[in-house]
């Protein structure tokens, strides 16, 4: 069947079998950021944002997303142009094995879009769907706090530039 999707800003029409999960579809298209950790929606390694909301892509059929907009970790920033959440994860050494990291970063990004100054408890709530076995979540939580500061600074400097302009 035909499927029209926007993935990381690019809209295309794809040919897809009706039973394929969004995770397997994305990985077949070369988006390897979403990982398979359990296949049951328990671990969050396959998380992507569908229309701005965090979703476990192993639980959604690709066909279900017709007309939708998808953001994978690859679309958030790239090695030459990192998003502040990615910068912050690097800075505080919040990624150990990195397998859960794309999901954690996307959960953090979705949180900060809605709530730019979250409390620690709100960060922990937002990351609760992403299982991480390496870090104990201490550094990832710290990274989200740091990302919030970085994004705030950026917003302030952008505002200042605009007001000067």
């Amino acid at each position: 069947m035909k499927l029209k999707l926007q993935i990381n800003g690019i809209t295309k029409t794809y040919e897809v079998a009706p039973h394929v999960t969004l995770l397997n579809f994305l990985r077949s298209q070369g988006y390897h950021g979403p990982k398979s950790g359990c296949g049951n929606g328990d671990c969050g390694a396959c998380e992507i944002l569908l229309n701005g909301k965090p979703v476990n892509s192993c639980l959604v059929l690709a066909a279900h997303c017709e007309g939708g907009s998808i953001l994978t970790i690859e679309g958030l920033g790239n090695p030459d142009n990192l998003h502040p959440v990615q910068e912050a994860f690097l800075e505080v050494a919040a990624a150990q094995c990195g397998y859960c990291t794309p999901g954690l970063i996307l959960s953090a990004y979705a949180l900060l879009m809605e709530n730019p100054e979250p409390e620690e408890s709100e960060i922990r709530e937002a990351l609760a769907g992403n299982l991480c076995r390496c870090t104990g979540y201490v550094k990832p939580v710290e990274a989200v706090q740091k990302a919030a500061q970085m994004m705030k600074k950026k917003a302030v400097s952008r505002k200042e530039t605009e007001s000067i302009g």
């Binding site: 988006y31 390897h32 950021g33 979403p34 990982k35 398979s36 950790g37 359990c38 296949g39 049951n40 328990d42 671990c43 390694a45 994978t72 970790i73 690859e74 958030l76 920033g77 790239n78 090695p79 990192l82 990615q86 994860f89 690097l90 800075e91 505080v92 050494a93 990624a95 150990q96 094995c97 990195g98 397998y99 859960c100 990291t101 794309p102 970063i105 620690e120 408890s121 960060i123 922990r124 709530e125 990351l127 609760a128 769907g129 992403n130 299982l131 991480c132 076995r133 390496c134 870090t135 104990g136 979540y137 201490v138 550094k139 990832p140 939580v141």
Partner: protein, 772 residues
């Protein structure tokens, strides 16, 4: 003892991980992130029975399905006794495993393997294989394994290295210093207990996965999620009965391991199918298979006694261990002996005994798991130390301080009991345990909280534990590295060391950068490829920073010597008088040259040669890291619900090469340890079938439950380690069980002898003790 680390430019700082950008952008390549044209998808049919003989296996219907390329069973594969444990050779684990056997020994054991053109075709074919089993009586309780007339789990003739197959004893070990029974009978005070720990799984978020293919010279390339690429090559060669030179093992980025991937679980099947079909093959465990068919921690019953005199002096320590190795003896001997060897040398005592057996059951197979026996042994020892202090009416910290091993001392138990055999003299050259206890106690608020009144429904208490581990296996673990200089002044660092996500690629690059006098960005790391990198035993036994780091240090020194020779030719000075800073060499007369010019000269103009260095490293000692853990808990006296309110882990890992990542190791270990203490457990029915093989039913901690964890690094300088470093990866998983158990006792006066401390078990203990 701490040296001034302000002098180091790279070591002791926390640069970005060398592989970090790939990890945060999703561009890092894990095993399953490649797809090779013509790839077959393989899957495994596992046993539904705990103990049975295969009477008949009919693959005819499955074979006929479209897309099915190959079906393996015991009837068409080589029968080579081996161990799946990736350990140094010859392995201390029994050769009791086969690619397939006509007998299955646990629910989840291999029966057949199907390779097909698609995952769907593979799944269909697995369902079409018909197996007729002759059921055998099964042993599900390790205490019944050695009973007379117990069924014999390994009755095959061709296994070897089993301690006593007829009694289901995979491994047995005893060691004694002094005369323990006599000393115990004379002791003023005795404390004792029987401590039990349960089945638990490592839960790397990336399950085991392997892809194999033939290269253009007809060699098998195995791309796999492993901790032990070189052992993997050796064991696959053994199983397939082909020379090692036919095999190349590559470990790309891997998604966590924790001991689970120190094991050859899929690689033999994958490579064999590639060899027979000449096709690329992929096998990946599902999460369910990861729980049931991979490896677990060894469940154990540890009986322990301590005798002491009224002055607090320890007179005798007696540890008696029954370890359940499950259906196969992977790591059975070495995890068993480490229960004692990683705990008993912590205290001064003339009479110490360790006795232990690892027995077979028809249950999932235990293997290496972070902590490696230290987790089980620390539970018994540290709870009894708490109880002893109570009987002596002194603060447990005072008891710990008085009797723990110190700088300059050599504990005789380290020589008597090693890893699977006698140990080695292990003089202590660095010990920050006192500082760990002091800083940890202060951080948790020990004095105020330990003695606060306990009443009402919610009762709070604090408890502690003291810990030691090791850094590599002395005189066994070996790492090697090679460094090649490039004409722009950068370096390639090739090493067998295996980064599981621990950050070792970065730490080892830091050691190279520090030694060569360049920023870490100048080091290009290539690791864990049996064709391209020198040998390394792999990532286990807390060895990488200490052993592989030692090899990198030597390789960098070798390379540096050659750089300075060339610099001496350019600058006209004695190489020994030259100074290096940030890739610039300065002579005594002030003349300078840079690394790029030095390498360009060596490659292109005068006395031409490739500037490179090589180093291999082993160690006669295994410097223990030390740690002191403190937990504050709250017990709900009505429901038994136990909450960890605060958890401080103070750890002496020598010099932390990368402090942020060292903290990360502490925090991650503690989180895993708290999970094991409170909720993680595999449950089984009366047929040995696992009841909860999913993340939904097997509870590991989420971000909501770890707000309590605080890591404190306590710097010392370990003279045997590279830049003063020793290990940090495992020790901190050993603290949560005893620290929490002791805190619960402080809160409400009950001793907990069995993990996990679920609300139900705490409530029962409260009830039995008459507290409610």
């Amino acid at each position: 003892m701490a040296r001034d680390n302000n002098k180091t430019q790279v070591v002791g700082h926390s640069p970005r991980k060398v592989d970090g950008v790939g990890l945060v952008t999703g561009t890092a390549q894990y095993v399953d992130d490649i797809k090779i044209q013509g790839m077959l998808y393989a899957g495994i049919l596992t046993s539904p029975h705990a103990h049975a003989r295969i009477k008949e296996i009919d693959i005819s219907a499955a074979e006929k399905l479209p897309g099915v390329m190959m079906i393996l069973t015991y009837q068409n594969t080589p029968r080579v006794p081996h161990t799946t444990a990736g350990q140094g050779f010859p392995e201390p684990s029994p050769y009791d495993s086969y690619m397939f056997d006509s007998k299955v020994r646990y629910v989840g054991d291999r029966v057949a393997c199907v390779a097909a053109e698609s995952e769907t075709a593979c799944r269909h074919a697995l369902k079409k294989i018909k197996v007729e089993y002759e059921l055998l009586p099964a042993i599900l309780d390790p205490r019944k394994s050695v009973e007379e007339n117990a069924p014999v789990i390994h009755d095959e003739k061709d296994s070897s290295g089993i301690h006593d197959a007829s009694r289901n004893i995979a491994a047995h070990y005893e060691a004694e210093l002094g005369a323990v029974d006599k000393a115990l009978s004379k002791s003023d005070i005795k404390v004792e207990g029987e401590f039990r720990v349960q089945y638990a799984q490592h839960c790397p978020i990336e399950p085991h996965v392997t892809i194999s293919y033939l290269d253009d010279r007809n060699r098998i390339v195995i791309r796999t999620s492993t901790q032990v690429p070189f052992h993997c090559r050796r064991i696959v060669a053994q199983c397939l009965q082909i020379p090692e030179q036919k095999i190349r093992v590559i470990k790309p980025r891997i998604g966590g391991a924790f001991g689970a991937k120190q094991e050859i679980l899929l690689e033999d099947l994958c490579a064999y199918i590639t060899l027979k079909t000449r096709r690329p093959v992929r096998i990946k465990y599902s999460r369910k298979e990861e729980f049931i068919s991979s490896r677990t921690r060894h469940p154990m019953i540890v009986k322990m006694k301590i005798g002491a005199n009224k002055d607090g002096s320890l007179q005798a320590m007696d540890q008696d261990v029954l370890s359940n190795t499950g259906a196969y003896g992977s790591h059975s001997l070495t995890v068993l002996t480490n229960v004692g060897s990683k705990t008993l040398p912590l205290y001064w005592c003339d009479n110490i005994r360790f006795r232990g057996s690892a027995v077979y059951t028809n249950m999932p197979v235990a293997g290496a798991y972070r902590g490696y026996g230290g987790t089980q042994g620390s539970y018994a020892l540290q709870v009894l130390m708490d109880e002893l202090a109570e009987k002596l009416k002194i603060d447990v910290l005072d008891l710990q301080r008085k009797w723990h091993i110190r700088l300059g001392q050599t504990h005789p138990m380290s020589a008597a009991l090693g890893e699977g055999k006698e140990g080695h003299e292990n003089p202590i050259h660095s010990c920050g345990l006192d500082a760990c206890m002091e800083l940890g106690a202060e951080a948790i608020g020990w004095k105020e909280k330990r003695n606060q009144a306990k009443k009402g429904r919610f009762r709070r208490g604090v408890g502690m534990a003291a810990l030691m581990q090791g850094s590599g296996i002395p005189n066994i673990d070996m790492g090697a590295a090679r460094i090649k200089m490039n004409e722009d002044g950068s370096f390639h660092l090739f090493m067998g060391a295996t980064d599981l996500g621990t950050g070792s690629d970065t730490i080892l690059a830091q050691i190279a950068a520090e030694t060569l006098g360049v920023p870490v960005e100048k080091i290009l790391v290539y690791s864990s490829d049996t064709d391209m990198t020198p040998f390394d035993v792999g990532a286990y036994a807390s060895s990488t920073t200490y052993i592989s780091g030692g090899a990198v240090h030597k390789a960098a020194l070798d390379c540096r010597t050659k750089i300075l020779q060339v610099a001496g030719e350019i600058l006209g000075g004695d190489p020994a008088s030259l100074k290096v800073e940030n890739g610039v060499v300065t002579a005594a007369n002030g003349k300078k040259t840079s690394y790029d010019k030095i390498c360009q000269r060596a490659l292109y103009s005068r006395n031409q040669f490739q500037i490179e260095g090589i180093g291999s490293h082993t160690s006669p000692v295994s410097p223990p890291p030390f740690a002191s853990h403190f937990a504050e808990v709250e017990v709900d006296m009505e429901t038994g619900k136990l909450r960890v309110l605060d958890y401080v882990a103070a750890c002496d890992c020598g010099v932390a090469i990368h402090p942020k990542m060292a903290e990360g190791q502490v925090e991650g270990s503690v989180a895993n340890g708290i999970g094991y203490a409170l909720s993680e457990s595999l449950y089984f029915d009366e047929h040995g079938r696992c009841l909860n093989p999913s993340f939904f039913d097997y509870k590991i901690l989420t971000s909501l439950e770890t707000g309590c964890i605080r890591a404190i690094l306590v710097p010392t300088y370990e003279p045997n380690g590279p830049y003063g470093a020793k290990s940090v990866a495992e020790i901190n998983i050993n603290g949560p069980i005893p620290a929490i158990a002791n805190a619960v006792y402080n809160a409400c006066g009950i001793r907990l002898y069995q993990t996990p401390f679920t609300p139900e078990s705490v409530w029962r203990s409260l009830k039995e003790a008459g507290k409610i």
